[in-house]
């Protein structure tokens, strides 16, 4: 069996890092992902926008720093896989796929409408670059275990990333996957947990997804890190460390995020799993985002 170094440092476009050396900063990518998501929200008049705004920095680091992929070939065998377990975050992933050049910007106008490639909950058959059908929560980690095993069978050096959430940790199937990944020593599996402490009926910390999450994953045998998921430098460092760690174990990056990050009047609104937005507020939010990014203030 040939031994491949799965911990090799990022290479340029030929190695599957299409945006290596880009002049566009990760901060700008995250801003643009938020902007795409707000535009999709405006099309529908609704959407899981607070989650999208919260996870935008993590997705910017994923698609513009960590993941090996080819925007014009979503099935490229050498890509790192990215599994969105939390199907309702699809609006956020679509925004990242648009920013990454995998989907055209014109798809924004179709979000959540009949015949669109961008349904409200993510499904593999609908959207180029969507690697699994999520939405029935608790599936991503287990599927990632199978894909990581499959990649090892092929002597592939690709990673499987899977994004799930603190609320999703209520699901017992997550923990079957967590145990399986550790048992099989899947060092090619990187889990990302979005910890925004909010789920349908209230705060996750008041349900069974209790702290200390870091210690819980460590006890299950995972290489564990916890970062501020809205601190791009910290997320970059954590993803780099997750790839580079020379331990025969799956890796988890627990990301604490702020719901609705970047749009202050959403951030301070009554916390809710499904943020209510009035029709005129989408444009106000985009204007605020634009001014914040460009350094001006309202």
């Amino acid at each position: 069996m040939p031994t491949l170094d799965i911990h090799a440092p990022p290479a340029g476009p030929a190695g599957g890092f299409p945006y290596a050396g880009s002049n566009v900063s990760l901060r700008e990518r995250a801003y643009r992902i938020r902007r795409h998501a707000l535009r999709m929200g405006e099309v529908q008049g609704q959407g899981y926008i607070a989650q999208a705004l919260g996870i935008a920095d993590v997705l910017a680091v994923s698609y513009f720093h960590a993941l090996r992929h080819r925007p014009d070939d979503v099935h490229w065998e050498g890509r790192d896989r990215f599994l969105l377990s939390i199907g309702h975050y699809a609006i956020a992933l679509y925004a990242a796929l648009i920013e990454a050049g995998i989907l055209p910007e014109s798809d924004i106008e179709t979000y959540g409408t009949d015949e669109s490639r961008l349904p409200m909950s993510g499904m593999a058959a609908y959207t180029p670059g969507m690697e699994m059908t999520g939405g029935s929560l608790g599936h991503g980690v287990g599927i990632a275990v199978g894909m990581a095993l499959g990649l090892k069978r092929k002597h592939s050096n690709s990673f499987v990333y899977t994004l799930f959430s603190d609320g999703e940790l209520n699901e017992g199937s997550i923990w079957e996957g967590v145990m399986g990944a550790a048992h099989w020593q899947l060092d090619n599996l990187i889990g990302i947990v979005d910890v925004n402490d909010q789920q349908a009926d209230g705060p996750s910390s008041a349900m069974s997804s209790r702290e200390p999450l870091h210690e819980r994953f460590r006890a299950f045998g995972w290489h564990t890190q916890r970062v501020d998921g809205n601190d791009i430098d910290a997320v970059v460092a954590a993803f780099d460390a997750a790839r580079a760690a020379r331990v025969a174990a799956p890796r988890i990056v627990i990301c604490d995020t702020q719901m609705a990050k970047g749009v202050s009047f959403f951030e301070t609104r009554e916390r809710n799993h499904f943020l209510r937005v009035e029709p005129g507020e989408w444009q106000q939010a985009i204007a605020l985002l634009d001014e914040t990014f460009s350094g001006k203030t309202l």
């Binding site: 499904m123 593999a124 058959a125 690697e131 699994m132 059908t133 939405g135 029935s136 608790g138 599936h139 980690v141 287990g142 599927i143 990632a144 275990v145 199978g146 894909m147 990581a148 095993l149 499959g150 990649l151 069978r153 092929k154 499987v160 017992g172 199937s173 079957e176 996957g177 145990m179 399986g180 048992h183």
Partner: protein, 335 residues
Amino acid sequence: MSTAQTTAAPKKRLATSAMIASIATADQRTTAAPFGNALVELAKSRPEIVGLSADLAKYTDMHIFAKAYPERFYQMGMAEQLLMMAAAGLAREGTVPFVTTYAVFAARRAYDFICMAIAEEKLNVKIVCALPGLTSGYGPSHQATEDIAIFRGMPNLTIIDPADALEIEQAVPAIAAHEGPVYMRLLRGNVPLILDEYGYTFEIGKAKSLRPGNDVLVVSTGLATMRALQAAEMLGKDGIGVEVLHAATIKPLDLDTIMTAAGKGGRLVVVAENHTVIGGLGEAIAAGLLRAGIAPKFRQIGLPDEFLAAGALPTLHDRYGISTAAMVQQIKGWL
């Protein structure tokens, strides 16, 4: 209890059948572990085939594959949700996973994971499950009396209920060659061999007539076909002609063949299955008959809509109507 009974010699009670008890009777020809051996044989030429089980490899004949190809076998532990998700992931990466557990656990515990991770994405996973219907004496925890009813509603899923060892051996390469998810009921251990006497060849989606008969048409599947053939022989001795039409593929169901046979005038039509009378082959055929405007006298042989008792399989098959003798008695009563 009457005095007469208490003073009589105690009747010997049959013991609960062992978990891995064969359903074969003492006088039947059998083949050992047809599934495990067929999978090992197929895997020689199909390197993409992998095997998974959830702490039931030994009880599903998967251990034979695991021994032959240890590097292609994944023991997932007692975690049926992970079993199905991991199979989905392995299929996504180009393997053809054969997954085994008990039918109760696949149908009841892992349904969402089969539905969304495998069937919705049309992944090439073959789910092969032991203890279908009433083939365990351990009671409802192990008796998958409603697995077909549960799975029939799942789009994209092909459902197969083999009758004997020959059919299992032929079904293994057939389902491996089939693109898409398959649920197959498994008879394991020493499995009766009967269909070789009927010149039978398994094809996915095809119901096949095994013997002719002018008075009764029995459409059957799984081990009920074995019993139906035995019942037909016994009824023949009483001058009652019974055709047995074996429908191993329950979904997609070969309604063309079944409707043609059912439409051949005047015969009693009986559907026999090792499954509750709710939601299985019987109701599928009843709906087909109604849609086709064919109205024969129609009866079902199947398990009652109850949680069944624990006990010895021969006792239970008699009690719940799927033994050969019980089938003969029911059919005679309907004529």
